[in-house]
């Protein structure tokens, strides 16, 4: 079996771009990824594309062929929808395409247009990731669901709003120099604590913003990279996916996310690594509490121990295990369908050494991306590792 190599990455600016359609956003990211990879257009075999709410925000379904066309490609193209994990599952499919020999070159990514909706409308649209009968009709919202998880976590393990505030402060600090990020402003713990409540105990600065943007990767087979002199020094060596009951009320424990644990276990085994080997991670911090639960699911901390990691400097940029060096969903932004592959784009650049924050992980060899859908009824984990680069060696 061949490893899938990341040959190219592309990102739009993540932010408020209500006038830009998904096809426009994805064209920018996808063509940037193809240019970064330097592969021939005719070698691309497929497009795998994540998008969550195109029907609601743009009255546009069937976006697979739409975005392939936007890249100037005439190939099979499929849109994947798994809420906020949409492009994570698209990536998993793309990795498998390359591994099983079905394709030597694939484009995978995602896009989301959200800010053309009013706040109430986007709140409504995001809520469809919950159970429509038994959650949404009772008044569940996306922040409300994570608030229930946070309250349950505090009850079982302890923790405080101040602990969560340190996560927001860390992720904002990481985004300051990331010119793709929605928020390039540092914030203080006091700013976070004094922000208005959204769903208690979560306040505005515990939440990711509403974001428009796109991300894309070009994956190639090892043999293609070798024979075409394509520089691809990062490999996707592990992939895993987990599932759970759709509604929070049907989970055994609202303060843990076993779907992510399952995904991590599978991805680590696939790559032949353990949590201890991970040097840097991008995790799905749609809310500050989500970063805590993600890092615990990934095995970086025992259940109940992740809450203080940012506050104690373990996960900060110069800590033992930097988490969300891109700024994370919290500060980089969360264009829902684009998030999963944007994490891998950021990690690839961090490992390649051409990310603005690469200096903080100069010796890193192993990275993990954790992408979650809904209240983690879907979870996808990928392991990335640096590999000897044939093209770079030859040069």
């Amino acid at each position: 079996m061949t490893d899938a190599r990341v040959a190219g990455v592309g990102l739009t600016h993540f932010g408020v771009h209500p006038e830009r359609t998904s096809r426009d956003l994805f064209a920018e990211a996808g063509l940037a990824a193809l240019d970064d990879a330097g592969v021939a257009r005719e070698d691309v075999a497929a497009v795998h594309y994540g998008n969550f709410m195109g029907e609601l925000s743009e009255h546009q379904g069937h976006q697979g062929p739409l975005v392939a066309e936007a890249l100037g490609l005439d190939v099979p193209a499929t849109r994947y929808e798994s809420a906020c994990a949409s492009s994570g599952v698209a990536l998993r499919r793309a990795v498998r395409d390359v591994r099983n020999g079905e394709a030597d070159v694939v484009v995978v990514g995602g896009a989301e247009r959200m800010n053309n909706l009013e706040t109430a409308e986007s709140t409504d649209a995001l809520a469809i990731a919950a159970d429509g009968l038994y959650e949404v009709r009772a008044g569940m919202t996306f922040p409300g669901a994570y608030a229930l998880m946070a309250a349950s976590y505090f009850e079982q393990f302890g923790g405080s709003r101040e602990d969560l505030a340190h996560i927001a402060v860390k992720n904002h600090a990481n985004a300051v120099d990331n010119d793709r990020a929605q928020y390039q402003q540092a914030i203080t713990v006091a700013d976070a604590l004094e922000s208005p409540p959204v769903a208690e105990p979560l306040h505005l600065y515990d939440a990711c913003p509403v974001t428009d943007g796109a991300s894309a990767l070009v994956l190639v087979s090892e043999s293609y990279a070798d024979t075409h002199d394509v520089s691809a020094p990062v490999a996707v060596t592990g992939t895993g996916q987990g599932g759970d009951k759709m509604a929070l009320q049907d989970r055994q424990n609202m303060a843990t996310s076993p779907a992510a644990t399952d995904a991590a276990t599978e991805a680590y085994a696939d790559a032949g690594v353990s949590a201890d080997d991970v040097d840097v991670a991008e995790v799905h911090d749609c809310f500050t509490i989500a970063e805590v639960m993600a890092t615990e699911s990934l095995g970086f901390f025992d259940p109940g121990a992740g809450i203080t990691a940012a506050r104690e400097g373990v996960t900060t940029k110069d800590g033992r295990l930097p988490v969300n060096l891109s700024g994370g969903l919290k500060a980089k932004g969360h264009p829902v369908g684009a998030t999963g592959t944007s994490q891998v784009a950021e990690l690839t650049r961090l490992l390649r050494g051409d990310h603005v924050n690469s200096e903080h992980v100069a010796d890193a060899q192993t990275a993990v991306a954790h992408n979650a859908g809904g209240t983690v009824a879907s979870a996808v984990v990928h392991v990335l590792e640096t590999v000897a680069d044939t093209e770079a060696d030859a040069a």
Partner: protein, 127 residues
């Protein structure tokens, strides 16, 4: 209440809850779930029996929501909770002032209306 088409299973369960005859579905292994179901979501068993919902539940988690979807714009702020009723949990709004509800509180489940749309929903009353 809006005149949407009924949802089999869900609307039947809400009708029953409104009539103080709330039920859930129990499988032979005792797992609980809410209709419509053709299989137990926990073990896959096909034999599901309508079973009376306990009168009293316990709040497992709760939050005061300040930002609502348009369907609850006039209801906010409201207290949303997940409460255990034996083998099954329900999600509903607690008919109590924000700040007065805590995890562990005992509640009864019934059916109320959204102040915004008049649509019915599961509500909890503190016992």
């Amino acid at each position: 209440m809006s005149d949407r088409v009924r949802d089999d299973g869900y609307d039947d369960a809400i009708d029953a809850l409104a009539a103080d005859e709330g039920y859930y579905l129990a499988c032979p292994d005792g797992h609980g779930s809410l209709p419509p179901r053709h299989a137990c979501p926990h073990c896959g068993a096909r034999e599901l029996t309508e079973t009376a919902l306990p009168e009293t539940g316990t709040i497992d988690s709760c939050s005061t929501l300040h930002v609502a979807t348009p369907a609850f714009a006039d209801d906010a702020p409201y207290v949303l909770a997940v409460a255990s009723f034996g083998a099954v949990r329900l999600t509903g709004q607690v008919r109590a002032e924000p700040g007065t509800v805590e995890i562990g509180d005992e509640v009864a489940a019934t059916v109320g209306e959204s102040a915004t749309t008049g649509d019915r929903l599961v509500v909890f009353e503190l016992r």
